[in-house]
C-alpha cells in the first residue's frame, strides 16, 4: 500500500473525513450511551408514573361505582405499550379488582405491592400508584414494566450508530467527489498542461479557470506565467528570426555531421573536438548538404558538453550564405579596385610619357622641312603614341577612373552616335527601335557616362531577352509637377528631358524591381554579371540631378525611364578646340605647375614658343613661392591635379585668394574618385586631359585667356 502522502488527494480527503467522522461519532455515541445508561432508570420511572396517572384517572370512576369490567377495559388500553407486561388494580383490602396481562408469559405479577412507590426486580420495574378520590384511597394501580436488557439497548445504539456512520461515510464519499471536482481535477489539469508544454514547448496552451479560490488563483498565475513565457519565447523567436538564426540542439556530433557538406565534415569534427578538449564554445562555418543542390553556408556558434563519443551540442545556427556571397562580391570588387588602381597608376604615368612623346614629336615635325623623308617616320611615331593614348584611355575606362565632366548633351545625338555600337552589342534577333523627339531639351551630363548608361541599359535588356525581342529607345520632354515629386522625394519639380528604354523580355516581380538599382543585386548567375550595371546607371543619373525609375511586368518586359533636368539657356561654348594645327600666340604670364619634368618642359616650351611669359614650379608649395616672389602679374595658372604634397585644387584655392583675377586650367592624366566625388571639376572648370598635343594646350590656354572659360 502506497504511503499516505503519495495517495491522491481524493483518497486523503475521504480517509480524513472518514476518520474524523468515526472519531466524532465514537465520542458522541459514547456520551449518548453513558447519558442514557445514567438516566435510564429515572426516565423509565417517570415514564411509567405518568402512564399510571393516566390509567388511574380513568380507573377512579370504575372504582367509585364498583365496575371491575370497566376497570379491566381501561387497563386493556395498555396494549399500545408492549413493554408493560402486567398491570393490576387492587382494593385497599388487597383483593384484585381488575388486571391486565400482555400475554400468557406475564399472566402473573412479579411482585405484589400494597403501597405506592416503585422497585426494580428481576429485569422489571414495578410501580404502584394510589387511586384516591376526595382524599379517600379507593385502590392501588400497579404497572410492571419489562426492562430491556443492556445488550438489547446496546444493539439498538449499534444499529443507530451504524446508520449514522453509513450516512457519514456516504457524505465523506460525496464530499471527496466534490473535492475531486473542485481541487483534484483542476490540479490534474495544471499538471497535464505542464507535461504537455514540457513535451511540445507550445506556450499557447491555457488552463480553464473555473473558480476564484486558491486553485483558481494558482491557475490564473499559471496562465500568466505561460503568457509571460509565450511573450518571452516570441521575443526570442523574433530576435532569432531577425538575426536569421535558429537554436539547434543535437544529441551527438554525428547527428550534426549529417547536415554538413562532406568536404567540410572533418573541419566541423575537429572544431568540436577542440572545443570539448578546451571546454570552450566553438564557432564554425560550413557548407550544408542541402538536398536541393543549392549550396548554402551555415555558421554554428555553440557549446559542446558531455563526455565520450556522444557530446550534447547546443548552439545558434545561422544561414550565412548571403553574407558569404557578399564577401565574395566584396573580394571581387576589391580585386576590381586593385586592378583599377594598378591600371590607373600605369595610365597616369603613361599619359605623362605620352604627353612628352606627342609634344616632342610635334616639335620635331615642325623642325623638319617640308618633304623631308623623316617626316613619315615622325608621323608614324605620332600615330603610335596616339594609339598608346587610346589604350590608356581604355584602361581608365575599364577601371572607371574617367573624369566626370558634365557637358551639355543632346540625347538624340548621343543615342545616334552609340547606336552602331549597340547593334554590335546586341544579338541579331533583337530589334532596335528608336523614337527620338527632335525637340528634346538639352540636358547636362557627362557625355561618356551618358553613353555608358545607354550601353548598360541595353545590355540589361539583352540579358532579359535571351530569345530575342525589341529594344525601344525613346526620347521626349516632360514637366514634373507637385504630384509626381510628392510621391518621390528624390525628385524636384521642373522640366526634364526623358529617355525611355524598354524591352520585351522576361520582366521582373515587384520585389526584384524594387531592388534592381541596389549595388551587387543581380539575378544573373555568379560570374555573369557584376550586379553593378544598373547601380552605375542609378549613380550616373543621380550625379546629374536626374531620376531613374523602372516599371516591369513579369512576362511582358521592363521599362526604364530616365529623367534628366533641362539645361537652362543656350548651349554652352565648347571647350574643345578645333583640330586646326595652329598654335595661337600670347604674351601673358603663365604659371605652369607640373611634377613630371618631361611634361613640364614640353608645356613650357610650347607656351614660351607661343610668346607667353612662363613661370614654372614642380609642386604646389613651390608654385606659391614663385607667385609670391613674382612682382608682376600672373594671368594664368596651368596646374596638374594630383601632385605630391599640395594638390592642384588646394593650390588654386590659395592662389585665387591672393590673385583674384587668375585664370585656371587643370591638367591631369589620372583622376582620383575622391576629386570627382568632391565635385572639384564641373563643366565650368577648364580641364585638359593628358596626353595632349602642343597645339591643344596652346589653343586651350588662349581660349581661357580670351574669356571662353571663366576664372575658377
Amino acid at each position: 500500500m502506497a504511503r499516505f502522502r503519495d495517495r491522491p488527494i481524493r483518497d486523503k480527503v475521504a480517509l480524513l473525513i472518514g476518520v474524523a467522522s468515526i472519531v466524532g461519532m465514537g465520542f458522541a455515541g459514547l456520551t449518548v450511551i453513558v447519558y442514557d445508561l445514567i438516566t435510564f432508570k429515572p426516565r423509565v420511572v417517570r415514564d411509567l408514573d405518568s402512564q399510571a396517572e393516566i390509567i388511574g384517572l380513568n380507573a377512579i370512576p370504575a372504582l367509585t361505582f364498583s365496575d371491575p369490567k370497566a376497570a379491566s377495559e381501561n387497563l386493556a388500553t395498555l396494549r399500545s405499550r408492549p413493554e408493560i407486561g402486567f398491570a393490576s388494580i387492587r382494593l385497599p383490602s388487597g383483593s384484585l379488582f381488575a388486571s391486565y396481562a400482555r400475554d400468557s408469559t406475564r399472566a402473573r405479577p412479579v411482585a405484589e405491592r400494597r403501597a405506592p412507590g416503585y422497585e426494580f426486580r428481576a429485569g422489571h420495574l414495578v410501580l404502584t400508584r394510589a387511586l384516591s378520590s376526595d382524599d379517600l384511597v379507593l385502590g392501588y394501580l400497579t404497572l410492571e414494566y419489562d426492562l430491556p436488557s443492556v445488550w438489547a439497548r446496546l444493539a439498538r445504539y449499534g444499529i443507530m450508530a451504524a446508520t449514522v456512520l453509513l450516512a457519514l461515510l456516504t457524505a465523506a464519499a460525496l464530499l471527496s467527489r466534490t473535492l475531486v471536482r473542485t481541487v483534484s481535477s483542476p490540479l490534474g489539469r495544471l499538471a497535464e498542461a505542464s507535461r504537455q508544454i514540457a513535451a511540445t514547448r507550445d506556450f499557447r496552451v491555457r488552463v480553464a479557470q473555473d473558480s476564484n479560490d486558491e486553485i483558481g488563483q494558482l491557475t490564473k498565475a499559471f496562465n500568466e506565467m505561460l503568457g509571460a513565457l509565450q511573450q518571452s519565447e516570441e521575443r526570442l523567436r523574433l530576435a532569432l528570426e531577425a538575426a536569421e538564426m535558429r537554436i539547434t540542439e543535437a544529441a551527438s556530433v554525428d547527428a550534426l555531421i549529417e547536415e554538413v557538406h562532406p568536404e567540410d565534415r572533418d573541419l566541423v569534427r575537429r572544431t568540436i573536438g577542440h572545443s570539448l578538449e578546451a571546454g570552450q564554445g566553438f564557432d564554425v562555418e560550413f557548407r550544408t548538404s542541402g538536398g536541393d543542390g543549392v549550396e548554402r553556408w551555415a555558421a554554428l556558434r555553440g557549446h559542446a558538453s558531455g563526455e565520450g563519443k556522444a557530446p550534447q551540442l547546443v548552439g545558434v545556427l545561422q544561414d550565412v550564405t548571403d553574407r558569404r556571397q557578399l564577401e565574395l562580391q566584396l573580394i571581387q570588387s576589391q580585386k576590381m579596385e586593385a586592378i583599377g588602381n594598378l591600371a590607373g597608376g600605369i595610365a597616369h604615368d603613361f599619359n605623362n610619357l605620352l604627353t612628352a612623346i606627342i609634344g616632342y614629336v610635334k616639335f620635331v615635325e615642325r623642325a623638319l622641312p617640308e618633304g623631308s623623308p623623316i617626316r613619315d617616320d615622325v608621323a608614324e611615331i605620332d600615330r603610335a603614341a596616339r594609339r598608346a593614348a587610346l589604350l590608356t584611355s581604355h584602361l581608365l575606362s575599364y577601371a572607371r577612373r574617367q573624369m566626370v565632366m558634365p557637358t551639355a548633351v543632346h540625347m538624340n545625338a548621343s543615342v545616334g552616335s552609340i547606336q552602331p555600337m549597340l547593334r554590335r552589342l546586341l544579338s541579331e534577333d533583337i530589334e532596335i527601335v528608336t523614337a527620338l523627339d527632335p525637340r528634346v531639351w538639352v540636358t547636362r551630363i557627362d557625355q561618356g557616362q551618358f553613353e555608358q548608361l545607354i550601353v548598360n541599359m541595353a545590355v540589361n535588356a539583352r540579358d532579359a531577352m535571351p530569345h530575342g525581342g525589341k529594344l525601344r529607345i525613346r526620347t521626349g520632354n516632360t514637366v514634373l509637377g507637385g504630384e509626381e515629386t510628392r510621391r518621390n522625394t528624390d525628385v524636384l519639380p521642373g522640366e526634364y528631358a526623358v529617355l525611355t528604354i524598354s524591352d520585351t523580355g522576361a520582366g521582373m516581380t515587384p520585389e526584384i524591381a524594387a531592388r534592381v538599382f541596389e549595388p551587387f543585386f543581380t539575378t544573373k548567375p555568379v560570374g555573369q554579371g557584376s550586379g553593378l550595371g544598373l547601380a552605375m546607371c542609378y549613380g550616373i543619373v543621380k550625379q546629374a540631378d536626374g531620376h531613374i525609375s523602372v516599371e516591369s511586368e513579369v512576362g511582358r518586359g521592363s521599362v526604364f525611364t530616365i529623367f534628366l533636368p533641362r539645361l537652362e539657356g543656350s548651349e554652352p561654348k565648347s571647350l574643345h578646340p578645333t583640330e586646326e594645327d595652329v598654335i595661337p600666340p600670347g604674351t601673358e604670364t603663365v604659371l605652369f605647375v607640373e611634377d613630371d619634368s618631361t611634361v613640364r618642359d614640353m608645356g613650357m616650351r610650347v607656351l614660351r614658343g607661343a610668346g607667353y611669359e612662363v613661370l614654372e614650379a614642380d609642386s604646389g608649395e613651390r608654385a606659391l613661392a614663385v607667385s609670391r616672389a613674382s612682382a608682376g602679374s600672373i594671368h594664368m595658372l596651368v596646374t596638374d591635379v594630383i601632385m605630391p604634397g599640395m594638390s592642384g585644387r588646394e593650390l588654386v584655392e590659395i592662389l585665387c585668394r591672393e590673385r583674384p583675377h587668375l585664370h585656371v586650367l587643370y591638367v591631369s592624366g589620372y583622376t582620383e574618385d575622391v576629386i570627382v566625388r568632391r565635385g572639384i571639376l564641373d563643366e565650368r572648370t577648364p580641364f585638359l586631359a593628358k596626353p595632349f598635343t602642343p597645339t591643344r594646350l596652346a589653343q586651350t590656354v588662349r581660349q581661357i585667356l580670351d574669356g571662353a572659360g571663366r576664372p575658377a
Partner: protein
C-alpha cells in the same frame, strides 16, 4: 371518617339485605354529585346547600344522613329533604323517587322546576323519562342514564359516568 362509598360494600349487598342495598344506593347518590354539574343558577350562593330530596316512602331511613354526613359536593354542604309527591321538588337538586312511591307518574324534565336530577329505581325509570335509573344486575347495583332527560333539565353529566352506565338512552345515540 366513614367509608360509605367503598365498592366493597357491594359484597354485603349481594346478601340480599335491604339495608345493604340502600347503603350502596346512598353512596351512589353522593357519588353522582361528583359527576353531574348543575347550572350556576341552581345555587344562590357559594355555600348554598346541595339538596337531595327523597320522594315518597323513604327506604334509606337514617342511612342517607349517615352517608352524606360531613361530605360536600364541590364546596356545597349536602342537605336532605323528604317530600311526599314527585311534583313537589321545589328547592331540590337531586330527587330520589323510591320504587314504592304512591305517585307512579315519573316526573319528566320539562315538568320540573329548576335543574333537578331525578333518580329512580328499576329498568323502566330512565326509559320512561327519568334521568338515572338504578338497577340490580348480577346482584350488583348498576345504573341507566337518560341523556336527553338530563340535558333537558339543563344538567351536565360526565362522560366517565356515561361510560359506566349499563345503558344510555339518547336520541342522538339512536337508542
Amino acid at each position: 371518617m366513614a367509608a360509605a362509598t367503598r365498592a366493597e360494600a357491594q359484597a354485603p349487598a349481594r346478601a340480599d339485605s335491604a339495608s345493604l342495598e340502600y347503603e350502596v344506593k346512598a353512596a351512589y347518590l353522593l357519588n353522582f354529585t361528583r359527576y353531574v354539574e348543575w347550572p350556576p343558577s341552581a345555587f344562590p350562593r357559594q355555600d348554598s346547600p346541595l339538596v337531595i330530596c327523597v320522594i315518597g316512602p323513604d327506604p334509606f331511613r337514617t342511612i342517607l344522613e349517615r352517608t352524606v354526613e360531613g361530605k360536600a359536593a364541590d364546596g356545597h354542604p349536602i342537605a336532605i329533604q323528604r317530600a311526599a309527591l314527585a311534583s313537589d321538588t321545589r328547592g331540590c337538586h337531586m330527587a330520589f323517587i323510591a320504587s314504592g312511591s304512591q305517585d307512579v307518574r315519573i316526573p319528566q324534565s320539562d315538568q320540573l322546576e329548576g335543574a333537578v336530577l331525578t333518580i329512580g329505581e328499576g329498568r323502566g325509570f330512565a326509559r320512561r323519562g327519568g334521568m338515572i335509573g338504578l338497577v340490580i344486575m348480577d346482584a350488583t347495583v348498576r345504573f341507566e342514564i337518560n341523556l336527553d332527560a338530563v340535558r333537558g333539565a339543563g344538567l351536565q353529566v360526565s362522560s366517565r359516568l356515561l361510560a359506566l352506565a349499563t345503558r344510555v338512552y339518547s336520541t342522538e345515540a339512536g337508542e
